[in-house]
């Protein structure tokens, strides 16, 4: 039976808590299920001491998760909106990411910070941002951004077991997405991308909710005689350049699509690397699809006008292949 992103994510949390007594959850309202219901029922099942509600103290709870990770727990922290990660950055960037290195390898921070990002339905400027690119600039962090329920299931489990601090970004538009739960013994390797659709004319590189959009675009493009390959990055840090390279060496054209604003976005890094490492392979410039450089407006008409969609990708692809 098909389950939602939220249900499948909850299942991953539930199973990891059952598997490893060191896994603890903390965050605002998590014992009540959290703002989006992801952790619903886990307190009842695993005990209130393992699923802890916190005050509105993003800085302290991130610090506490980090300190606990240094001392034998594997905390999973929920930061309700990535916009509020701004309040947790000192700890994430200055402490958690650097602990292993600064301590000369004595200590590690096996922690997962689950957070939620992206624009939808008028959440407006302070609850809609896509800030993942900040984190790919921080040595010591790992950044994961799943594109579907089952992807989230495996990636979250792998992240929990990884041993280094992982920022795990869930897109609010994916929460209602449904998929059949499929049991599989194997978990995805953090750092490996996946080819979500094969194609030969152009490579579309995407992650998170934009993978679905890219697949839609590929479908439309197929109807117009353009064969698009879609890569689901899964992990933004580290980047799987091998998979990207294999694809672009075949298609000779690339588009990077994300919801974040383009300036300083993850797409800039990917485009720069393709343009450098695959210079001789490229038949056309690497194009980026992303939000224009504007805060997310509240009114749905403005939000819609701003957000990149399948058509934006189709147009970029048609320009490239033309």
């Amino acid at each position: 039976m098909a389950q939602t992103f939220i249900e499948i994510l909850r299942r991953a949390l539930d199973e990891e808590m059952a598997r490893d007594a060191a896994v603890y959850l903390l965050g605002e309202d998590v014992a009540e299920g959290g703002a989006f219901g992801v952790t619903k029922g886990l307190a009842a099942k695993h005990g209130a001491t393992r699923v802890k509600n916190t005050p509105i103290s993003e800085a302290a709870i991130t610090g506490m998760a980090t300190g606990a990770a240094l001392c034998g727990l594997k905390p999973i922290l929920e930061i309700m909106f990535i916009d509020f990660a701004t309040l947790a950055l000192d700890c994430l960037v200055n402490q958690a990411a650097k602990y292993r290195y600064m301590s000369g390898g004595q200590l590690a921070v096996p922690m997962v910070v689950r957070t939620q990002s992206g624009a939808a339905g008028g959440a407006a400027a302070q609850h809609s941002q896509s800030l993942e690119s900040w984190f790919i600039h921080v040595p010591g962090l790992v950044v994961v951004a799943p594109s579907s329920p089952m992807e989230a299931y495996g990636l979250l489990k792998s992240a929990i077991r990884l041993g280094d601090p992982v920022l795990f970004i869930e897109h609010k538009r994916l929460y209602a997405m449904k998929e059949d739960f499929v049991d599989s013994a194997e978990l995805p390797t953090i750092g490996k991308a996946r080819v979500a659709r094969e194609g030969s004319d152009v490579t579309i590189i995407a992650y998170s909710a934009m993978v679905r959009t890219a697949l839609e675009a590929a479908e439309t493009l197929a109807g117009r005689g353009i064969s698009a390959e879609v890569i689901d990055l899964r992990t933004l840090l580290p980047l799987d350049m091998a998979t990207i390279s294999a694809s672009v060496s075949k298609t000779h054209r690339a588009i990077v699509a994300h919801e974040a604003v383009m300036s300083g976005g993850v797409g800039a890094e990917i485009a720069a690397r393709i343009a450098d490492e695959l210079f001789d392979e490229l038949d056309a410039p690497v194009k980026r699809v992303g939000c224009p450089f504007v805060p997310i407006p509240f009114a749905p008409e403005l939000e819609k006008a701003l957000l990149p969609n399948a058509l934006s990708i189709v147009q970029a692809a048609q320009e490239l292949v033309r």
């Binding site: 299920g33 916190t54 005050p55 509105i56 339905g121 302070q126 407006p297 509240f298 009114a299």
Partner: protein
Amino acid sequence: MIKTSGALTPRSHFYWITLVQSSAKPADWKTLLAQLWRIRLFEGHVQRLAAGGEVPGFPHLSTGQEAVAVGVCAHLTQNDVVFTGHRGHGHSLAKGCNLTATMAEILGRDTGLCRGRGGSMHLVDAGCGMLGATGVVAGNLPLAAGAAWAAQARQTGAISVVFFGDGATGAGVFHETLNLAGLWKLPLLLVCENNGYAEFTSRAEHSDVAKVSAFAAPYSIPSATIDGNDLIAVHQSAASAIEHVRRGDGPYLLECMTVRLAGHYVGDQQQYRSKEELAEALKKCPIERLKSYLLSQGVTDDELMAIADQIKQEVQRDVDAARAAAAPDPASFAEGVYASPLLAAGC
């Protein structure tokens, strides 16, 4: 003595009231009751429109907490500035924001206070001193302190008021702001609406601190904890708090104990609250309490009905006007990020 003045901003068309504390009479309270009603009715519309899918985002209603907004803002002049948070409709209306433009903003219309760019959580009306709402809990506190600092530095005589919830006291910046406000003796009134919840989590799970006003003590900032559902109590306590602040004696922390009659946001099923608790909460309704008081003072039911009817019609009219307004032009989404179009062009 009631001093009423006409429209304060081009958009404003309700009366501004400054009550001198000691001389408040039933007639004054009636005018304030009208404001409570106005907010209640306004948010009733927000709720209905939201349920009908007409409101983008997730509006947070102040239903049950209106007495704080009205009781405090009654003492403010147009020069004074107000900052609020995610639950700020009441504060905005009480500070003098035009109702149609406020509703238009909440509906995401081009005629909204912020041209539909802000929304329910980001109401701004600079003309009437409503300087902003922030959706990041406690983020408004230092902004308000900064506004107070500017007033002090520029010697404008204005004061700055910030409304925030009890949950905001979990955020470090609340404490940083207290320290700075006390140290610099800023003309800042901090108004905490303690409704016992932060989203779905009760205060007991957030903090061991029973009274938010206790946080002021280490800084020697004067404070009080009052019944925030008693408009008269709020009005009187706010008067003396504001007198202190306006005199230049530094900040004041006013904690108003209140209850949220609605969910955290429109749509919240409140499974975390018992029926008994909700029933108990309803008894504390600030509107019912003020009505009882007025009736006990000889005001008649008919008089109150007449006020209610008038407000109802006015609100309906203004809400209709807001609903009739046009959405922003989609092509305009990039306008207004920077002062200079040159800057914007380079981004």
